[in-house]
Assembly symmetry: C2
Homo-oligomer: 209 residues x 2
């Protein structure tokens, strides 16, 4: 999307930063406009409700974008799921870069639309679906993300997140997620391989497919 010179110029406007697993990049309410692109690792965007329960709003993969470029404060928490490397920009610096490079805003527009659709997909998934459908939908979605082509299922993959995080993402509890995985395995749809490994034995057996 951007050419080499533009990329370099942009990189100079930001500053790289490393995060360890569990470290926080942004906190909701922080009165600062800043944003970042993820170079390696994985992040989660979360919000915490009044009774202290965490809800995962989005997972961020390398080349993903987080933060606020227009709003004066952060709307959500951003936390590293594993050791990660980012390129962080101040809000004004990034806004200036956008003015300077029209292609940048186009690229970002594209990516933001992807994020928007991912968010709506999650919304649809957690909407009226049963726990069974949510977990199977998440498995299929993660399998798709793990494969090279976006509409192809990876037969064998590792869950990028823990049971608890998966539960937080789906609006379920750890126990329910665990029960569903057990059920899918008993029914021969999947096979569990260690804590994180999943093999899709017969995806057609998963509800909703």
């Amino acid at each position: 999307m951007l050419d080499e010179a533009e990329r370099e110029e942009l990189a100079k406007a930001g500053r790289t930063r490393k995060l360890k697993k569990g470290e926080t990049l942004f906190t909701a309410g922080m009165s600062e406009a800043a944003c970042a692109t993820l170079l390696s690792g994985a992040l989660k965007i979360t919000s915490t409700d009044v009774d202290g329960r965490e809800r995962i709003l989005s997972l961020v993969h390398p080349s993903g974008f987080v933060g606020e470029m227009f709003a004066p404060y952060m709307r959500h928490d951003v936390v590293a799921l594993g050791d990660s490397e980012l390129c962080v920009f101040s809000g004004p610096a990034f806004a200036e870069a956008i003015e300077r490079y029209p292609k940048l805003s186009q690229a970002l527009l594209r990516r933001t639309q992807e994020d928007l659709y991912a968010s709506r997909e999650l919304l649809a998934l957690t909407g009226n679906a049963s726990a069974e459908q949510r977990v199977s939908g998440a498995l299929l979605s993660i399998s798709r993300a793990a494969s090279d082509s976006p509409c192809h299922l990876a037969r064998r993959f590792d869950l990028p997140i823990s049971r608890g995080e998966l539960a937080d993402m789906l609006g379920l509890t750890i126990e329910t997620v665990s029960r569903m995985l057990t059920r899918f395995e008993r029914e021969g749809a999947i096979r569990r391989d260690g804590k994180r490994g999943i093999e899709l034995v017969d995806p057609a057996l998963l509800p909703l497919s």
Copy 2:
């Protein structure tokens, strides 16, 4: 954001279209890249799951943007909630306009980010919250949207959607929404005025506030 000449030029690239209440603008899966801005009225973006239940992913207000500019097919249904007027563009025509007017992609980026946050807010709201919290959250959010300032509550407003649509948006049933409204009224938090009218008598009594 755009100046007058740009606006006019853009308007010429599109074609205005009127929709009556309930008419469909786009259907999910349609293999066509097209998009539109809403001039007046209101739209809903929905997805229908396997068992035929509809889920409202977003409400679109005037100056809102819907459709696909990059993807080759429509991901969701878009339906008019009331009589509406739009300016419709073909995907390629709009992509060209974006190339031509850098400010357009910046403006659209801003709006898309707003949509993204709205979507995530809804995600957070429908995540782990109880039916009580969801309905009260929706009331407050609609009240905020109905007032002139975005962080101020309108004391008296009309629900832009029916009970059924509100239920579809919150992942609840009509009956539950109805029961919650009854409860809020009994507890003195709101007063119902006809089918659609709501008056916030004591917003502090609403859970979660």
